[in-house]
């Protein structure tokens, strides 16, 4: 079982790799739309990547209003 910190770290690594951003530039409380420079379509790509990586389903509506990595990690952790 992953810890919440491990989940958060894996999300940051995955987002950095997928959107080709330096991992050092990403912090847990970043607004990922701004930091990654993505729109909601690209956020869906991120959601798909995360679902495959963690083998979970995360309904889109649970992403509504979520814009920072820490909250995103909490949502995923609750489904692990």
């Amino acid at each position: 079982m992953r810890t919440a910190d491990q989940t958060l770290d894996e999300i940051l690594n995955l987002a950095a790799a997928h959107f080709k951003v330096s991992r050092e530039k990403l912090t847990p409380d970043d607004d990922f739309f701004k930091t990654l420079g993505i729109d909601s379509l690209q956020a869906l790509d991120l959601l798909t990547k995360l679902e495959h990586h963690f083998h979970v389903e995360l309904p889109d509506y649970e992403m509504q209003g979520v814009s920072d990595f820490r909250t995103l990690a909490e949502r995923i952790q609750s489904r692990l």
Partner: protein, 267 residues
């Protein structure tokens, strides 16, 4: 004609396989232009199908297979029109798109949708007319119509009911959530999940395999196992038009059109 290059789509036939490519920016939204070219395609299909054993539908757009109906066109066209005229206009559009969808659904050859990325609303409905769906692992399927105060209108509900268990249909329709390709395969919607960028290659390999079978047998099998739910398709148009007259739809469409997000797809 065995090949065509349009503004929204193109097609060509090679070795008994027709490939229909969607290529309209940003993500193949289906409006009047795409509809006209789809009608040209189904007209051409009547002549091509005697020499073809398979049809592949795919998108050249990076964002995905198809984001559905062109909601911006729908909103702007209905502005300034009397409600009855707007409803009559949408009914005519739906009648036409249903003729296209039904023609592809019933075509006497095996049809394959090779999808990636956004496969939403009308785009999902276009994939559903195919006999097989081959999905890139980054594909997502969704019916977001309820957030607009509508139901899917291009034949999605009857075809989902034909192909899937009713619980899955309710999940997709009533929550408006999107399924990734793995989930879509688990529920029986997708026949193959392939790596990123591999859907068209896999569809071509499948089409080549289909060419080995006796054509008459393949057609008989398809007609036996894939009935067209004509009565329910008619009913869907009626329900859509009834809902379209409600003020909530205009509010939902305006919210979508006025969104500052370039791709406001999240339900």
């Amino acid at each position: 004609m065995s090949s065509f290059q349009g503004k929204a789509l193109s097609w060509e036939m090679k070795a008994g396989v027709i490939e229909l490519a969607l290529h309209r920016d940003p993500c193949n939204e289906i409006g009047s232009l795409t509809l006209e070219e789809l009608e040209q395609f189904t007209e051409a299909l009547e002549k091509l199908q005697s020499d073809a054993h398979a049809l592949i539908l795919y998108s050249t757009q990076k964002a995905g297979f198809c984001a559905g109906a062109d909601l911006r066109e729908l909103y702007h066209r209905s502005q300034g029109m009397a409600k009855n005229d707007a409803v009559a206009g949408i009914r005519e559009f739906l009648e036409r798109i249903h003729r296209v969808m039904n023609a592809i659904d019933a075509a006497p050859l095996t049809t394959i949708a090779a999808v990636h990325g956004v496969t939403f609303g009308g785009g999902f409905e276009l994939a559903l007319v195919s006999d097989l769906i081959i999905a890139d692992k980054m594909a997502r399927f969704c019916f977001p119509e309820l957030r607009l105060g509508l139901v899917p209108g291009f034949g999605g509900i009857p075809r989902l009911k034909r192909d899937l268990g009713n619980g899955v249909v309710r999940d997709l329709l009533l929550t408006g959530r999107s399924f990734n390709s793995t989930k879509a395969q688990q529920v029986g919607l997708v026949s193959q999940v392939v790596g990123e960028g591999e859907a068209l290659r896999a569809a071509r390999a499948t089409a080549a395999q289909l060419g080995k079978f006796d054509r008459r047998t393949a057609i008989a099998a398809k007609q036996f196992i894939k009935p067209i739910p004509y009565d329910e398709l008619r009913k869907e148009i009626d329900i859509f038009c009834e809902l379209f007259a409600h003020p909530a739809v205009e509010v939902g469409l305006r919210k979508f059109v006025e969104s500052t997000d370039a791709q406001p797809y999240l339900p």
